[in-house]
Symmetry: C2
Subunit: 188 residues, 2 copies
Amino acid sequence: MALTHAILATLARSPLSGYDLAKHFDQYVACYWQASQQQIYRELAKLEVEGWVHSHLEIQADRPNKKVYEITPLGKENLKEWLKEPSQPTVLREDLLVKVLAGYLVPKNLIEEELKRRQKIHQNQLDHYRQVEQSFFANLRQVPLEHQFQYLTLKRGIRYEADWIAWCEEALTLLAQFPEECSRERAD
Amino acid sequence: MALTHAILATLARSPLSGYDLAKHFDQYVACYWQASQQQIYRELAKLEVEGWVHSHLEIQADRPNKKVYEITPLGKENLKEWLKEPSQPTVLREDLLVKVLAGYLVPKNLIEEELKRRQKIHQNQLDHYRQVEQSFFANLRQVPLEHQFQYLTLKRGIRYEADWIAWCEEALTLLAQFPEECSRERAD
DNA sequence: ACGCACATGTAAGCCGTTACATGATTAC
DNA sequence: GTAATCATGTAACGGCTTACATGTGCGT
């Protein structure tokens, strides 16, 4: 399981509370690892039992207190060991493609609208990543090494979104050439 | 849940046994929906209870008998209804990117090797998809409509793999420019 | 005799999703 | 006063993975 290591890898860069981790994940890690707040809290509790992280309460005057988690030397060792293991490509499960596969069963414009909707989602995400790129990685050689590695992951996110947009465009073009007959219902 | 609909969508094209479904998934559906044999068997049992598919035993002389599943009109209605619902992008969970993020903790060549290994995996998959493209979709306008839609999904798979390869290449190039210091261990 | 492809399942455990629960502080 | 943000959790359910279990027929 790798949520464990996604959290360890993030904490290795700087200590964070569960809440801040969740926000960080949403902003920067989402392009390759999505996790809910609930998952993160549960996982942190486990990690602490294992001794891979430890926490201390940070008293805040103006806000609710927070529990800040830090990676332990043991946790860091564990993370390094994990880095050495080969990793497998993710299993893919993409609803939209299943819908495209069965698209001949419904009116053509239904699929077209769905493709356009989807294209916009990826465009928004791409815009977001590009903005992060501009703000934090404008001059790559002057940022700390950790951030240079982070930049590689951001690049992956950028490509991923751009690739989706390109496919949507391509699919829409091809769809336009398909015969209209798909919109007709058959008796069955 | 959409394994249900991935199976219905496949059975809508032609009846298949659980075993054949699993093989078909591996060959053609894997680029957007991966499912194990176990999942497929279990799901088929559920689908039959719901009345969305029904099965009959096909006696085979030279091989073990098989249970062939067909979609029912009710199942097809259900599938069409599902097609009308908007779908969300998949959640991503990519180990390799977590490893890249924490890559500064281990010797540089370790990450490089992993990237090269990964690039090969995607190259192999891409080669496979291109071969499917050549064999089945050489002249798109002469294949039945169902296959034209399937072609769109294959195109997604092709892009996906090509995109991974391109990113690996890019990441390797950038990595080569990173300082060597990452290979040094720090006292902590 | 052995391994492989064909063929169908069960069971345990883990992980992720969703809903629920609580409570403080800030801004309007 | 009420909505939003900050902050931390618990509980139930369901799906997915992994391992196990069983058996046929073909090729070598």
